[in-house]
């Protein structure tokens, strides 16, 4: 069974939602604490949403120095899957596991509402359940979600097909460059984005269109990898 570690930082607040969504998708999901130095043989690591360390200094800036992030860095370097949602995306950018950065929303207000996004890349650990071009209505909830990167990085991301999610035209809630809502590493194994699919993964919450992100984790099988757990 796929093992999904959900990392809890002081200030994480979407940890239970992520754990639950992964579990419903058929994964064996469990929490690891920010002070832990191991991931308990995780196949996938989820960095959940929230306000780790109170967003002090910059969102994600302090979290990336926590002991567990050393383990996450090693896991990612070994080809392991990492999914960063919202604050998790900010942490991945601060840690240098994904390029770019997330700045204050262009209109300064915290935005908390569903927005339309389009899946731009299906070949990743968490979007393979959606054909490219699929449009989904998924909640966002952030104050620092404006994705920025220098011109060279943007060209590289577009050329390599590493924009995973894009806000549908007119839906961009934060002023992100090129309507980018999420990006990935070249292999599609490290993915970060601002929307919260775990909040739209069950009909009782109003929508289950985001459940595919977690089914994707379970369905994902990198070529040649032996992922059978003892």
């Amino acid at each position: 069974m796929l093992r999904v570690a959900v990392v809890r930082f002081p200030g994480s607040n979407c940890d239970w939602d992520a754990l639950h969504a992964a579990r419903r998708a058929g994964a064996d999901s469990y929490f690891v604490w920010h002070r832990d130095t191991g991931l308990q043989q995780a196949d996938v690591v989820i960095l959940p949403g929230g306000f780790s360390y109170g967003d002090y200094l910059r969102a994600g800036a302090i979290a990336r120095f926590s002991p567990v992030m050393q383990a996450v860095q090693r896991h990612a370097a070994d080809g392991g899957a990492v999914l960063g949602i919202c604050n998790g995306f900010q942490i991945l950018c601060e840690a240098g596991l994904l390029p770019g950065a997330l700045m204050r929303n262009d209109r300064l207000t915290f935005v908390s509402r569903p927005v339309w996004i389009r899946v731009e890349r299906s070949e990743t650990v968490c979007t393979n359940a959606y054909p490219r071009g699929t449009e989904l209505r998924i909640p966002v909830a952030h104050g620092d979600g404006r994705y920025v990167a220098d011109a060279h990085t943007l060209r590289m991301l577009e050329a390599e097909g590493r924009v995973v999610l894009r806000y549908v035209r007119g839906e961009n809630p934060n002023g992100s460059v090129a309507d980018i809502a999420g990006v990935c590493n070249p292999a599609g194994t490290v993915v970060g984005f601002m929307p919260h699919p775990e909040r739209a993964s069950e009909a009782v919450t109003g929508s289950d269109v985001g459940a595919g992100f977690f089914r994707s984790l379970v369905a994902w099988a990198p070529a040649g990898a032996d992922r059978v757990n003892p």
Binding site: R58, P99, M103, V148, G175
Partner: protein, 82 residues
């Protein structure tokens, strides 16, 4: 020796600074129509143990590169008190 170090971190020129814009508008509303180009960053003060002012500055720059500033979005300056 111990040196008092002042670090200034500001959003990189060319990047949208919505906080700066909002404050600029508020200043205009107060009648300070001549105030332009407002940029909002943060000031960090710290005490650094180092053998010389140059050493304190070098250490502070390393702190900026690794934590105090985001190299993608921010510029910084370092000043060491005499």
């Amino acid at each position: 020796m111990s040196y008092r170090v002042h670090v200034r971190v500001v959003p990189r020129a060319g990047l949208l600074d919505p906080q700066g814009q909002a404050v600029e508008h508020a200043l205009a509303a107060l009648g300070f129509a001549g105030a332009r180009g407002v940029r909002i960053g943060r000031a960090i003060e710290l005490q650094v143990d180092a053998p010389s002012p140059e050493g304190a500055e070098a250490a502070a720059r390393q702190m900026c590169d690794r934590l105090l500033a985001n190299p993608v979005t921010e510029d910084y300056s370092v000043e060491v008190e005499a």
